[in-house]
Assembly symmetry: C3
Homo-oligomer: 467 residues x 3
């Protein structure tokens, strides 16, 4: 059996018994997935997924970065080179290479997610190995041809109540329109991610701005017009269900400049003659602008800072972005968020959700900030912090000061559609394990723990994200 | 039952058994409270405490910051506005609002402390909820009228062997005199906290200095006179039982300037024309001066750094300081403490106790420093680090390098008088739980663990603070 | 009994049962000790070790720093003063003083190592105390006279398959030659540690360079000649078995300057007119040069950064270096290692092993870097991070992102020869305890865990270090 009923529960029998009872009450709750990167086209077209390697290996940076770290070349995994150079095209060969290295994932969350999908989606209950690789490949491939493996059928089978994709400010959202027009009842909303027109150091920023102007009919060469263009796009996104914006800057820096200062900075940015600090300041100012717009239009602001993107220049030149070479870096929040919090932190009707890739900020900065400011909430452990151990540390480091109710439940943040139920299941199990410990140590009664378990699995995400 | 006998003990039966046995040997030890913020006036006048809301809700920043973070306005909790604006005055309404939000504290130490006080001081054994709120209010109010709830009666009932309050350098200590003159036997000592005359950025610093001069008759416009004034006040405090000084700077920076440099810096400070760096340097120099004075008069030096005070300017303007908006920030010790340690770190008869709000410094900086320098000891987990999980991390991160005997037992650091027994009880239980694990894993024998448990609960604090 | 069979295993019976079974499969594996500081002279001469105090107390900075922190003077422990001043010379008095303070080590790894040696090497099974001190001293002293306590006999008894010492670039390696020529079969190799000729701030750097030139016959006043001298010494070390180089800089900074820039910087360094930043840059450049040489000659590069050496100037002046006053400091890797990784990070045939004294970098920086770059591996918890708790944190913080297979097993990094089996035993037990938890929580099957346990205890170190 790949999936044991008691997986992730503490071994102590009393604690495990409590965890089981708590988990039983949340196991089958619908999935609310307020932040992620699934492709809306899947739900719009509802076509079958391709072969196992193209579905499960090639697009998953958790998987190929681990193989790369052990000497497998990305070409061997069929990942396209920018120069069009030769790469492996036989999905079965890619799959076999993956299976040969599957042992590398022992003890990782990828292992948990992958085996959950194997078992619950494909009915496979043997371990992946060089020996079983072809047999498993064949089973998956056969299943993928069946109608119940289509995106919409899985949506229902996964009990997804609502899912948010993420689109850039310039996206026409045609897939979302197509979903809406199809009459299908699945709730797939978008989120406003304006990095490409907010970050002066984004590839093609000047062109992006031009397009932004064309798209909105605003004069984006003036500060006022630029902000108006954002307002317009936000409204456009909101019409397609968006309830949040999302911002992935290298730092958590915010700013609250005067209009005159903002205009001057924007002019500098437009001229293209700006320093790295100017760019960072501009991104910071835009976070505060977005939060201020949220006071009007109600979008939840998500701040996803601290990733040092494209750390490996050779890899970036050869294969492009998102190839597993984004590395976290130390992230300050106390000073960085102050300008934004000074401006809007005391607003009880605003929700700003801060994430981190730097755990050291949990007990020192993020929990104290979220445990004070009405507008600020803490996002769950994210990316390099999504293992069961990291989820446990998140609770241990933040509950003292922020409690459970300044956090916002779980979000899976994934483009790996088939892993979504697994990720929510892992989060539910880990939260129940944490709560079971509190109950076993007589720090919380079991009826209260059950209420918290339900809140963490379902209600908090739904309410924080207005889904 | 609110309080289970086994609370905070690990669920594993063997480990729990050991923890129970260890705890039984320290449960009833007297309380030594070497650092805190109770009001000496309580012990001087020995008047009844006011209503439940005024006693338990309004003065507790742990409580009102959490409610504020969830959208409750401080006015609703009866907290005075600086502009004299209207606030709630009905204690029962405040209490009911608090009860309605009590669920927010699930999993927090506030929950543990509050329920301990409910049960052990007021004999209340039902959970606070909107339904039970009025009933509990009435019981507390009735009890508060009884003589055994007066400050001195509680002092004895709590088995407090010695408690230290904290007073500013300008305080006349009249309440301490009144306690002494009353003939009551309770040991209530003061501690010398000179921030208001040491920190050039303290509100009213210039006026404070004037008063410092008047009070001492020293010429505090000269560096020599200024230091003499400190010596005089320290002596005055020592006469009222003080055994320690306490310093709450934004950083742990210390300095060891020459007399000429110090004079020059002091002159600059006096003129009011100093940079933020000058102010920080002056605070740092004064830490070293205080440590040097301690070589003469024996006061223990407590360094409480790393709090970014009044992070929320709107709140500060509207309600003033200590309103829950103090946020920790990253704190360096290795470089910061070096000048002081270079000067006096090798003195075996000096005790400098360092605290932190930044856990990342435990294994990297504080344990290695305290595990080497004879003069340096580690204070316990503090403020945002006072949950059971944080206490456990403190031991796990420091014992390797500093052992148990370069730490100084527990201190409660609280103005919430009724929570003092609860806080010491939590600390004793957590230390016993940690020790029980060492015993269960055959890393320590139980007789030794019992000795350590006693040291951590009682002896180390008493000896380190000379109480 | 000092050593319980189940020591360091979790108390939960199911988990302990798994841990026991896993440990049984690795307990008796040979020791591969790829990084350490034993004295090759011991193995060359094979003379008896001196008295208990000289063997076990005086050279162990873990021991004397703890005693020093509690007011014992180093003179009382017989540690030589640089001025030749009087120190204790009676080993029994030193031993008695140590025994009197033995309780300070409760809960520390030193306790585990020391008692393991007492029991397994000397057959002593009573606890050290003032009462037992003389009895234990006598037993050890008697044993030390026996032939099976000679270095080579212990080597075999400890089942050491290979051990690496560490020598400076100027060392003639005569002891290694003597070992080789002796015909004894023990595998004792050296490692190339060029700090004294690479770090411009090393004591006697200019003289060291002169000697470097004389030794190699290269013109070390030219950049090309200087690099050639390194190549030559590396080859000399490789002939004596070296498979790695080792670099202990204050930071992890690396650089990848052009040849012209390197020549210019080197010229500046040679003139002695360089800033602290120049020195750091030069050390950083040399790390990259060493890695590039490794592409040719195959040496594994070990980076041991982040120790603030000789933090206590009085101690340094009085007793010299390595007296327990090295303190970790915050260490950046993401930015610091980038130049080196840009240059050689994608080389699958290179192995660079990074260590840290700053745990905050594990989940944020080191695991993400090692989980991506083919050339980078993570060294185990080290020095202030060698307690069981720290070893557990290492796995909990790195496995998510780097897995087990981007780590390199255990290394003891010690000059305390008798503690080597204890240290490996602690590491094996801790890894088995961690794996047992994964199995008990149904995250890994027991057959897989056994394979990982074997890899961590033996194979990974052997393969990573090519021993």
């Amino acid at each position: 059996m790949l999936l044991h009923d008691d997986r992730l529960f503490p071994a102590d029998p009393v604690t495990r018994g409590i965890a089981r009872r708590l988990y039983a009450t949340v196991r089958d709750l619908p999935i609310v997935s307020p932040h992620g990167h699934t492709d809306p086209r899947w739900f719009a077209e509802n076509l079958p997924f391709p072969d196992p390697a193209t579905l499960l290996v090639k697009p998953d940076h958790y998987i190929f970065r681990m193989l790369y770290s052990q000497g497998v070349r990305l070409e061997q995994l069929g990942i396209a080179r920018k120069d069009g150079g030769e790469v492996e095209t036989d999905p079965r060969k890619i799959w076999d290479l993956f299976a040969k290295h599957w042992y590398l994932f022992r003890g990782t969350p990828t292992r948990l997610w992958f085996e959950h999908a194997l078992s619950s989606v494909f009915g496979i209950n043997e371990r992946l190995s060089p020996e079983s690789a072809d047999r498993i490949y064949d089973k998956i491939a056969a299943k993928l041809a069946e109608p119940e493996l289509r995106p919409r059928a899985l949506f229902e089978r996964f009990r997804i109540e609502a899912i948010s994709t993420t689109e850039g400010a310039l996206d026409d959202l045609k897939w979302h329109d197509m979903i809406r027009d199809s009459g299908w009842g699945g709730k797939v909303v978008t989120a406003y991610r304006p990095d490409s027109v907010v970050d002066p150091e984004f590839e093609g920023f000047a062109d992006n701005l031009d397009q932004f102007g064309t798209l909105t009919g605003e004069d984006v060469t003036s500060w006022t017009g630029y902000l108006a263009a954002h307002r317009q796009r936000r409204a456009y996104f909101i019409e397609r269900g968006a309830t949040s914006s999302d911002h992935g800057h290298a730092t958590a820096r915010t700013a609250n400049l005067s209009t005159a200062e903002s205009e001057k900075l924007f002019a500098k940015i437009l001229k293209g003659k700006f320093s790295a600090n100017d760019a960072d300041l501009f991104r910071g100012q835009m976070l505060t602008e977005m939060a201020k717009m949220s006071l009007e239009d109600g979008l939840v602001v998500q701040i996803h800072p601290g990733s040092s993107r494209n750390h490996n220049p050779w890899l970036f030149e050869t294969f492009g972005r998102d190839m597993g070479a984004d590395i976290p870096s130390q992230t300050d929040y106390v000073t960085a968020l102050k300008p934004l919090l000074d401006a809007v932190g005391n607003e009880p009707n605003l929700t700003v959700i801060a994430f981190t890739l730097d755990e050291t900020s949990y007990s020192r900065e993020l929990a104290p900030l979220a445990g004070h400011y009405p507008a600020l909430k803490l996002g769950p452990g994210w990316w390099f912090l999504d293992a069961p151990e990291a989820m446990l540390r998140f609770r241990e480091l933040t509950t003292e000061t922020a409690g459970f109710y300044n956090t916002v439940g779980f979000n899976d943040d994934t483009r790996a559609y088939l892993s979504i139920p697994a990720r929510h299941d892992v989060a539910r199990r880990c939260d129940c394990a944490y709560l079971a410990k509190l109950v076993a140590e007589h720090r919380l009664d079991e009826d209260e723990a059950a209420e918290v378990a339900h809140d963490l699995a379902y209600r908090l995400a739904k309410e924080a994200y207005k889904l």
